[in-house]
């Protein structure tokens, strides 16, 4: 279909004018900014001549040069920005934590069985908060707060135009899918018990959760978690996931997730990443993957169990490039921090 369009388009322009042919084919064939960049490469490679006399608007040589400069600048800017944050500290949007408090509160790495239930309750509240919201679309309902004029009118005809009953509509409840991506690498070892608890509670709280674990590779564990028994689930996961507690390649894992399981994402999906952001892979892979994730979903939430640990600063490479694409970045090291996240979500939604 596009080929036919391209031919039709070429028929109405000056085919001997290369820049014009370039612009024409680009408009027809490359249906997105990324696609245009690819098209750019291919077109000029095919036609040999690198003289891109097309002016602005073409993401050509001038564009790429500017882009590199931009990147370098961005990096510098971000560093300054972060230096400031450490002083003033907006704690990335979620109410700030204080290191003192972190020391007085018990970490998840040492939580007791009594706290299990409470944790589960908070996680469920968080899940409900991010997983449902009112749609702008409506449906017929007996006790809605909106009047359904269309149906009211129709019903009134039966009684000779007298309106005996006002029929109503209400706003639909929109269900969101949650995708959970958990880092299970060595640096997260201490927190893996919390993590499993979180994952398990979430999976049981909302119907549509897809859960993946990653370290150097990525595995989907939604199926294993369907077990009613937590211990059995844990056992099965540790059997099935070979690289539990290895190093982390967050970028590559996310990329694999996007390519292999990308279809579970839609513009309403909320993605929750639980990781400390210690990435041993290539930084630009991570950045590209985060950008795509952000674009294809409704919200990206990053929970960091190490955020409040003394000595941890969220400035490791991975975290730094990922942050601009994260909507909510919050500590998740103890019950108090989870509760705070829940309260925060109540305020914003």
């Amino acid at each position: 279909m596009e080929a036919a369009d391209a031919l039709r388009a070429l028929a109405v322009v000056e085919v001997t004018d290369r820049p014009e042919v370039y612009l024409t084919l680009r408009a027809v064939l490359a249906s997105g900014q990324d696609a245009q960049r690819v098209f750019d490469e291919v077109f000029w490679e095919f036609w040999g001549a690198r003289q891109r006399e097309v002016d602005a608007g073409a993401p050509g040589e001038q564009g790429t040069l500017a882009l590199d400069g931009q990147r370098a600048l961005d990096r510098v800017l971000l560093e300054w920005h972060e230096a400031d944050e450490d002083a003033g500290g907006e704690g990335e949007r979620v109410p700030a934590y204080s290191p003192v408090e972190a020391l007085t509160r018990k970490d998840f790495s040492a939580f007791s069985a009594d706290e299990l239930n409470e944790i589960t309750a908070v996680v469920i509240a968080i899940a409900r908060r991010v997983a449902t919201r009112l749609s702008r679309r409506t449906r017929a309902a007996r006790r809605g707060h909106l009047v359904d004029l269309r149906r009211t009118m129709r019903a009134s005809l039966r009684s000779g135009g007298e309106i005996l009953e006002i029929l109503r509509r209400e706003r639909r409840l929109q269900k969101t899918r949650i995708v959970l991506l958990c880092d299970v690498s060595g640096s997260m070892d201490l927190y893996s018990r919390f993590l499993i608890q979180f994952v398990y509670a979430l999976q049981h709280a909302v119907g549509r959760v897809e859960t993946f674990v990653f370290s150097t590779g990525l595995s989907r564990i939604t199926g294993s978690l369907a077990h009613e028994d937590l211990r059995a689930a844990l056992d099965e996961i540790s059997r099935r996931v070979p690289d539990w507690s290895g190093g982390t390649k967050i970028g590559r894992s996310l990329r694999r997730f996007l390519t292999e399981y990308g279809t579970v994402l839609d513009p309403r999906t909320v993605v929750i990443i639980i990781s400390d952001g210690w990435d041993t892979g290539e930084v630009d892979v991570l950045e590209a993957a985060m950008a795509e994730l952000r674009r294809r979903t409704a919200k990206v939430i990053w929970l960091n169990p190490l955020l409040a640990s003394p000595g941890y600063e969220p400035i490791c490479q991975g975290m730094r490039v990922a942050l601009p694409y994260v909507d909510i970045f919050a500590p998740a090291h103890n019950l108090e921090s989870l509760k705070r996240l829940e309260r925060y979500l109540t305020r914003v939604s």
């Binding site: 510098v76 679309r137 269309r150 005809l157």
Partner: protein, 316 residues
């Protein structure tokens, strides 16, 4: 260049829209092939303006459908005029006609309120249909729109099928807050509008704010290039440049200095955070950058400004 492309470029420029060749070619193709034109780009680069200017250049009407979350058929396609229907029922009370007959009467075209989409396909002369910010509508609406745009007919249960009298010129814009479906992309020609280069923006400013002096316009253009390199909540677009130029004119400023910039920050930055960040962190480097450029001598160019900006950050 195809004569039509340059004609369209002139038409657009006659309407005060500075279009580079990529924009003019896309508009031309969209008109020649009658394919919808999907325009993406950051907010404030003049996406909506393309449709408005296109309508003026073609001498036809512009019908605008502003998208928002939850937009559905009743607000985009048609709705019944309930008040009129009620009145009609009252007035025809006591008549001999049966319920079925009266129902047919009030659900006829006379009682139909045409919303933008239906309006666009039932005009005598093909209008320009602007579907603005399609990314803000949900995926269901996108599918619905696709259906209307490929069949150019609408079926209304009470009346039947209404077929298009004319095919409108369709322009869709998106700010990329959400990824659009592939089906929609395939149906459309695609145009990405970036922030303008220094040269293009200078031309736009001198065209739209004719009273401005050349020196101030250049300073504004250069500073915009530098500002757009900062990481901000909302990068100012061309609309902000024009507002800023007008604001500086109104304050009788003939060049940019600390005071002039500080006074007018609110015109440029629509986020409190951005205004604060720029005031506290970036004002100094930005003015430094301007000073560096002043020493370089004229004329300024995109490359010169880019170089100045690079030097600025390595020095810090």
């Amino acid at each position: 260049m195809h004569p039509e492309v340059s004609r369209i470029q002139e038409l657009l420029s006659g309407q005060g829209y500075i279009a580079d060749r990529a924009i003019a070619t896309s508009v031309y193709l969209s008109i020649a092939l009658r394919k919808p034109l999907l325009i993406e780009g950051a907010a404030g680069v003049g996406k909506t303006e393309v449709a408005k200017v296109m309508a003026r250049a073609l001498g036809t009407d512009l019908i605008r459908l502003q998208c928002y979350e939850g937009l559905d058929a009743t607000t985009s396609l048609y709705e019944w005029n309930y008040q009129r229907q009620l009145l009609h029922i009252r007035l025809s009370e006591g008549g001999e006609r049966s319920v079925a007959e009266r129902e047919a009467e009030i659900f006829s075209e006379a009682f139909l309120l045409k919303r933008p989409l239906l309006n666009a396909i039932t005009q005598a002369q093909a209008p320009v249909l602007l579907v603005d910010e399609i990314d803000r509508a949900d995926a269901e609406f996108e599918a619905f729109l696709l259906e209307v745009l490929s069949d150019f007919q609408v079926s209304i249960p009470e009346i039947g099928t209404i077929t298009a009298t004319t095919t409108p010129y369709v322009v869709l814009t998106s700010n990329r807050t959400r990824e659009l479906g592939d089906a929609l992309r395939r149906r459309c020609l695609y145009l990405w509008i970036d922030y303008p280069s220094f040269e293009k923006e200078l031309e736009i400013v001198s065209r739209r704010v004719p009273a401005i002096n050349g020196h101030l316009a250049e300073q504004i253009g250069a500073l915009m290039q530098l500002i757009r390199r900062l990481r901000l909540e909302k990068t100012p677009g061309v609309a902000e440049t024009l507002d800023w130029s007008a604001a500086l004119m109104a304050l009788h400023r003939d060049h940019l200095d600390r005071e002039a910039v500080e006074e007018t920050l609110g015109v440029l930055f629509k986020h409190q955070d951005d205004a604060t960040t720029v005031r506290t962190q970036w004002l100094e480097p930005l003015l430094d950058g301007l000073a560096v450029l002043e020493r370089e001598g004229r004329p300024w160019s995109q490359e010169l400004i880019a170089r100045a900006a690079d030097r600025l950050q390595t020095r810090r």
